[in-house]
């Protein structure tokens, strides 16, 4: 099959994750993986982002497929059930708003900047090496730490299910995937 330019977007996703180790402010770029899928689903009514451009999905496909880092087993039934997929979506967004709230507190100067990346919403990893001060308000950095935590957490979960099940198992319960499918259902009158 012919390769297209967008088949190499996994390089972008990988670069993104690496940049976060050097300067946390790059985490802001991750907003693209939030808005592009939404814009495509709202305006075009397709999952074009998942189907073509998502570098994260490609990365899992590559590591689990070409590099064979996957058991290639069926994902358990409950993981593809609607309640789990929608439940995870809700949980993910709840955590996202907690992150936004923490960012707000730093902006409001009610709380100090915490130079840590939170993995799996629990484990706080010291990450001060990637913060070199900024011209902007510390709140800008707090959002970056928070957003990078979200991205790293989803990558880690994705890698775990990649190894245990099929390469792109993450795509079954990925909140962006679930949300864009939901938007398409509503928009195309199938909900």
């Amino acid at each position: 099959m012919k390769k297209h330019w967008y088949d190499y977007l996994w390089i972008v996703s990988l670069t993104y994750l690496i940049l976060g180790f050097f300067n946390i402010l790059f985490a802001w770029l991750g907003l693209f993986c939030f808005f592009i899928p939404l814009i495509i689903s709202v305006t075009k009514g397709t999952k074009g982002y998942c189907n073509r451009y998502c570098g994260r999905g490609q990365l899992f496909g590559l590591l689990g497929g070409r590099f064979g880092l996957s058991r290639r087993k069926d994902i358990p039934k409950w993981m593809k059930s609607k309640w789990f997929r929608y439940g995870f979506l809700v949980f993910f967004f709840a955590m996202f708003f907690v992150m936004l709230w923490n960012t707000y507190l730093v902006f409001a100067e009610a709380q100090d900047l915490r130079q840590a990346v939170t993995l799996l919403w629990t484990f706080k990893l010291p990450w001060q090496w990637a913060y070199h001060g900024t011209l902007f308000h510390p709140g800008v950095a707090q959002f970056a730490f928070g957003f990078y935590s979200v991205m790293l957490t989803s990558t880690v979960l994705g890698l775990i299910t990649m190894v245990l099940f099929k390469p792109r198992s993450w795509c079954v319960y990925c909140p962006m995937g679930t949300m864009t499918q939901l938007i398409c259902k509503v928009r195309n009158g199938k909900a």
Binding site: C50, N51, K80, C171, K190
Partner: protein, 69 residues
């Protein structure tokens, strides 16, 4: 010859499909499409039942079945 001919085809359990499009990418015949971002649909005329899509599908919702041609 009047023997019944059987062919293999891919069937998607569309209610459980997450419309990720992984199946589309691997089908050598371009026989699958994602319809309106909701689910995958197989073009029965093109599908040869090779099973690549079923192997790839992260949700394992594709089944290869024999049908009478």
């Amino acid at each position: 010859m009047s023997a019944i001919r059987k062919k293999k085809k891919a069937f998607v359990a569309q209610g459980d499909c997450v419309a990720c499009g992984c199946c589309v990418k691997v089908c050598p015949l371009g026989a699958i499409q994602i319809v309106k971002g909701i689910m995958a649909r197989v073009n029965m005329d093109k599908c040869v039942g090779c099973g690549k899509c079923a192997k790839e599908c992260p949700a394992s919702v594709i089944e290869i079945r024999e049908v009478i041609a």
